[in-house]
């Protein structure tokens, strides 16, 4: 109990404290405070022209298309290229499509095990590169959104923003994290697998590789794709409790800082404080719930002569302590990271519901950049509903919210449950999903529901019992990830583009304040009603049904 409290306080509290100076730095960076760097970036890009929302969006899409094309080609040709000491062969076309889509969209859903699928070159120049640039894409989009809301005449230049995010935010922090991880025991080598003969004389082949560099940016950019199959439960990705703390910290620091960056760029830090408060409250509720549910010992051991004085240990690593598995589960799914520090499929049913809820809401800090953008959509809806309730013209920071903005916001918000529930229904009803389950009954349904939630939320974690490296799963989740990425980035940019075109009114005493408790509670209720009402029936069929019928 004490250890749990200390751990949560250290990770969440510590990250919250450090997010403040980082947010300030990021706001300064994206406001052009570092002119020398910007001149260099302009020279590298050969472009520094101001862009309106359409040009910015097109630039974002073109660069993301280049990302997709390059990595798709690299993964397809890996068996012909160097840095392949373990002789990985060609992968199937649908797995290559799925993996490329997954890493381009910052999802990092993995239908493969890295150590037995990709060469070191594919992992480093393909997947790790995407972990940098896809995260930078998200942060850039947030900077553009903030500029629009702040009333700037243009949204900035995507190519400059991407370099600011990649070179000035992600790279230096990733370097610190990677060096710390290397010092604490994460391998970093280009040698192939090690051959050993065990004490009992058996042969064991041990996969290794350049993991330290990979794991650092995987955590930091809310990417989540592991170097090895079982992600950060693998002792090489997460060798000590201290490494584990660094990794959990790295998951959440930039998503938290993005809120402060947004607040500073729009010049409304108290508004950011209210948003941060709502996000933190939801996160703490989820953390408390998952740790409490996971303290229940495994039902499977109940009638056997097994000491049940610890919580559920299936799928957990002893060196990482009792708390960090469930804590990680809450953090990684609140932030769209998707790395795991314990196997989510083996969580107690209600504990397994918490990560799903995190992905359904998808903005309790959320992915780097995009978490705050998702929250912007909820803010638009909350402000609109609040305005209607008190009979005033809905305004957000002096911008009038009208039919067009609302239609767009609802379109983006509705796409999330449509992708998740539609996909789940299709796969639960057909052999595409049913034939791939590891667990039967309600838990099997949860595996399908989790997979689509993870894809649509660009999270990437999984109930990994699912045999998901099949053509239907690879194509379907690949498409869901692409829609789930670009729609919620482009639609908010379009909304702000539409707001920018209108005359901005001055805020008066009659304007609904977006600071303080009233706004915070309104926002919280909007999120809960949207999330709870849309997903409750699916939750009832999966984890809740499993808990009620099978747990004693």
């Amino acid at each position: 109990m004490l250890a749990s409290l200390l751990t949560v306080a250290l990770i969440v509290g510590g990250a919250a404290l450090l997010s403040w100076p980082l947010g300030r730095f990021m706001a300064a960076l994206f406001s052009g405070r570092y002119a020398k760097a910007d001149i260099l970036f302009a020279r590298i890009a050969g472009s520094s022209k101001d862009q309106d929302w359409k040009a910015y969006s097109v630039a974002l899409l073109v660069f993301n298309a280049v990302m997709f094309a390059f990595v798709f080609a690299l993964l397809s040709l890996q068996h012909l290229l160097p840095l392949n000491p373990d002789g990985q062969g060609p992968a199937s076309i649908h797995l290559i499509f799925n993996t490329t889509a997954s890493f381009v969209t910052n999802t990092n859903l993995q239908h493969y095990s890295g150590e037995s699928t990709w060469s070191y070159l594919a992992q480093l120049a393909g997947l790790m590169w995407l972990q940098f640039v896809s995260a930078a894409t998200g942060i850039a989009a947030l900077a553009a959104l903030a500029r629009g809301i702040a009333g700037h005449p243009s949204m900035g230049n995507f190519f400059i923003d991407l370099q600011r995010a990649a070179f000035c935010v992600l790279l230096p922090i990733a370097l610190v994290v990677a060096l710390s991880l290397a010092a604490s025991g994460v391998p970093m080598t280009l040698e192939g697998a090690a051959q050993v003969t065990t004490l009992e004389g058996a042969a064991q082949t041990i996969a290794r590789g350049p993991a330290a560099a990979f794991v650092a940016i995987k955590q930091l950019g809310t990417n989540g794709g592991g170097f090895f199959g079982p992600n950060s439960t693998h002792p090489f990705e997460n060798p000590t409790l201290w490494a584990n703390f660094i990794e959990m910290f790295a998951i959440i620091i930039i998503p938290m800082a993005c809120v402060w960056m947004f607040g500073r760029m729009i010049g409304r830090i108290r508004h950011a404080g209210a948003i941060f408060g709502v996000m933190a409250a939801l996160l703490l509720v989820k953390i408390t719930a998952v740790i409490a549910f996971e303290a229940t010992p495994s039902q499977a051991f109940a009638d056997l002569p097994i000491e049940q004085n610890v919580g559920n240990l299936e799928g957990k690593e002893l060196r990482l302590g009792a708390t960090t598995g469930p804590l990680w589960a809450a953090i990684t799914t609140s932030t769209s990271n998707g790395s795991v520090g314990a196997m989510h499929d083996s969580l107690n049913p209600l504990a397994g519901l918490v990560p799903m809820a995190g992905m359904w809401l998808n903005e309790t800090f959320g992915g780097v950049g995009v978490g705050m953008i998702n929250m912007f959509l909820y803010i638009i809806v909350a402000v609109f509903v609040a305005g209607m309730m008190v009979g005033r013209t809905p305004e957000y920071l002096g911008h009038r919210i009208e039919g067009r903005e609302m239609r767009l916001a609802v379109l983006a918000l509705i796409s999330h449950p449509v992708l998740i529930l539609g996909g789940t229904a299709l796969f639960a009803a057909t052999s595409w999903g049913v034939d791939t389950l590891a667990n039967s009954g309600a838990h099997g349904f949860s595996e399908i529901l989790y997979e689509f939630s993870s894809s649509a939320a660009n999270n990437g974690s999984g109930f990994e019992g699912l045999g998901d490296n099949t053509a239907p799963w690879n194509w379907a989740t690949g498409i869901v990830m692409l829609i789930g990425r670009y729609l919620p980035i482009l639609v908010p940019l379009a909304i702000v583009g539409s707001l920018m075109a209108k005359r901005r009114s001055a805020e008066s005493a009659g304007t609904l304040s977006v600071e303080g408790n009233t706004f915070g509670i309104m926002l919280l209720i909007t999120i809960l009603i949207f999330g709870a009402l849309t997903f409750f029936p699916a939750a009832a069929l999966g984890p809740i049904a499993e808990h009620v019928t099978l747990m004693r």
Binding site: E115, S116, I306, G315, L318, S346
Partner: protein, 184 residues
């Protein structure tokens, strides 16, 4: 399309800086500062690599401490968890098999970590309780007094994170190597 050229230039620049330079710095640092860990913490005994300090290997003989169950069957190239739900019958069956392997009984229940498979299937540790639970078997097989086996366990057991994770654990490979050094 005036966005294509800048995109291609950024492609090159980010590849050079975020992959080549970043990777080289981390690689150079790791290989200089922590070469043992950087290459997988491979333990060499009498000139032969016998395993990784961080990766569980299978032990089946009575004279060795046994690791936690592994859904990957201790395959260092195919790490994985069981992914079974606590409500799963398969998990119950597997647990029953483990219990009978240890001949655990109601008056002498087995610590849960020896029955629960780890997340990656390669957890190199067992709990202090899990080690003590096996001490009698190991001591008998080696013809050693239980006391001296327990002394080795106590010497090697450590709390992985001080106040943050106070429950002590033992590295199975190190424990078994220490026993081999003890003799018999």
């Amino acid at each position: 399309m005036n966005h294509i050229l800048p995109s291609l230039r950024l492609w090159i620049a980010t590849l050079l800086i975020c992959v080549l330079a970043y990777g080289a710095v981390v690689l150079g640092f790791a290989q200089t500062v922590a070469p043992f860990q950087a290459n997988g913490s491979i333990i060499v005994q009498d000139g032969r690599p016998i395993g990784s300090r961080l990766i569980a290997q299978n032990f089946t003989q009575d004279r060795y401490f046994w690791p936690r169950p592994s859904a990957a069957d201790y395959n260092g190239m195919g790490a994985m968890g069981s992914n079974l739900s606590p409500t799963s019958d398969k998990l119950k069956q597997r647990a029953a098999e483990t219990v009978s392997r240890y001949a655990a009984a109601q008056d002498d229940p087995i610590p849960a970590d020896l029955v629960a498979a780890s997340g990656g299937g390669l957890d190199p540790h067992i709990s202090l309780a899990g080690a003590r639970y096996q001490a009698g078997r190991v001591a008998a097989a080696r013809g050693l007094p239980v006391r001296s086996v327990e002394a080795v366990i106590d010497r090697l057991a450590f709390a992985p994170g001080g106040a943050f994770a106070p429950d002590r654990i033992v590295n199975v490979l190190e424990l078994n190597m220490a026993l081999d050094k003890l003799g018999r």
